[in-house]
Amino acid sequence: MSAMRVDAKVVMLGKESVGKTSLVERYVHHRFLVGPYQNTIGAAFVAKPIQVGEKVITLGIWDTAGSERYEAMSRIYYRGARAAIVCYDLTDGSSFQRARFWVKELQNCEEHCKIYLCGSKSDLISQDRSLRQIDYHDAQDFADEIGAQHFETSSKTGTNVDELFQKVAEDYNSNAFQEMKPEETSVDLSQKKDSYFYSCCHNN
């Protein structure tokens, strides 16, 4: 539960229905839920301890909603993140465009955030190759270009999922000596003096 101390903030980004929630479900609860797709509302937070060598590192994972509706809100989720898992659906070309958008956004706003490019639903490809819309090498080239790690995962079978998060934790661990202040756990409210309500304008 939230009682845990969080070492590294990790944010899941990507177009709706690419499988962000499923990835987190698979990794945290070791399961894949079948049944009608339930899109995430806003975002969900879960803390997950993970063993790295001798150490236990707690990842604070933010599973965001892909819907454009929450785009204006997305900053609060990725701000201060040490890692971003940017997901696209291997069977949906447009989701890769959206992934590019998030990468650009992160490069502009969160230079200390490491990016992990994740092509999801690889089980569908293994079943039927013709479903693949994003070439492995194209994605790999893009990953190299932006200095990101690249994974192809399946939450259904579990392929590569643990590996992905393990890599995130290890990278955090080996970079931790740089001693970046971990994400603040409380906000100094006295500093905030802007209006009572935050109104979200789509166009700003």
Binding site: E16, V187, S199, H202
Partner: protein, 517 residues
Amino acid sequence: MEGDSQRASASWENGTLAPGEHLRSDRADSPLPGLVEGTEPGAGQKSAMFVHAQSFEDLTAEAEEEVRREAEINKSGDGEEELKVLVGEKEQHSSDMTSESRTKEEDVTSEAWRSHRKHVFVLSDAGKPIYTRYGTEEALSSTMGVMMALVSVVEAEKNIIRSIQADGCKVVFLTKSPLVLVGVSRTCQSDKELLRELHYIYYQIVSLLTLTQLNNIFKNKQNYDLRRLLAGSEYLTDNLLTRLERDPGLLLSAVTCLPLASSTRDTVSSSLQAAKSKNLVFSILLAGDRLVTLLRKKDQFLHHIDLHLVFNLVGSSSSFREGEGWTPICLPKFNTAGFFHAHISYLEPASELCLILVSTDREDFFNMSDCKKRFMERLSKRSAYPALKEALKSPTYSVEQVGIPELRHFLYKSKSSGLYTSPEFPDVYKSDCEQERLMGLYQDLHSSLHHPTRPLRYVYRCGDTENLLAWVTSGFELYLCFSPLGTKALAVAAVTKLLKWIRKEEDRLFILSPLTY
């Protein structure tokens, strides 16, 4: 029994609802409590839980304004032609009408599509489709174009189109720039009831976007396709429509509570009260669709419509089941301009208990998470927690407990607290179909009690399948359903008995001492 009935009915028939001499302020002793607002069973002791408004009228008041300028088109040439396209002609109930799954793929030219009992469409001022309950928006773009044309034609003459009556079918319009909402119904609901439902749908959309954002979007781009922003939220609207058909709370503009010993509820409430934070405005603890407790910042009230939108959000989505949710939400009855931020989490993974902490600050996640932690720490040390979990096992009660012969079901709303109570549906009304039918009957009665020009104080209706009595005073609203064997005298006598029973049980069924922080 005879005596009882005469005494009770006398005061209605001569129309005086002033409290009789026998009504003393002493709650527990008054034989016929609740004729005056604030003394009825279930009335809060200190203050109202919700916004203190004439809830139902509140919803339709604006529409009533428009009545004065209204233009009712009755079967006028063009309109009818188009209408046939829209609604078909056969009165035929499709078997899947109660199915909750979204019948998106449905062919909009099919008989099945036409024969749905209630269609709801949302479009933009520019006539762009935004939402349809059945079928896809794309397939309906020309139909929606026709609807918009109807609205515009009437508007051009400085009038507002309100409704169209066609054979066995009613079309109701609600213009809420930049949106237009259209309901097409084969039910016998009044225009006013349909309008009330359209308002709910309107607020549902506003709660996702804020009105400010909605206005900005359409100001910048009149032709904007709002479905882009609403993508993935359609099921919220779908579910809200189902709730409107089934949930008495939406009809009564009230919410119902989990029956709970008042000592337990008080401990839960005070634990929640202790877990406060600077920007925390409302703390809501739900057990399924029932309120366990609600705390609010002093002087801030939560409108029941906003609360129902929160219920709908939480109830429709399993996405809050794991971890902690953090989502912007606009509570349109509070303020249509901005977002609150809600921390949503279940107390335990498989639990029905869901805690919603509403903050004004979008950066407040960890503060809210901490509030929840403190609440849980406090609560789990106390015996109230196991007691609360025990109470979850019997979230309702059976009507037999009341001990009134032939009484099958009832709805009782305490007006001053905005809370209602109702037993579980008995076997005769267990099926979805029967439940909706009974709700339809209640809706009818509700319409009569709240008729815009000729409201009734009480109604007694005999039917083949049940007898119904409805009564409204300044303190409460009551709907009773008897078996067809019941008589009017019996029904009238039952009222007193029921009120006494509710009075006796009120500290279990209602939240009598709401807290603030």
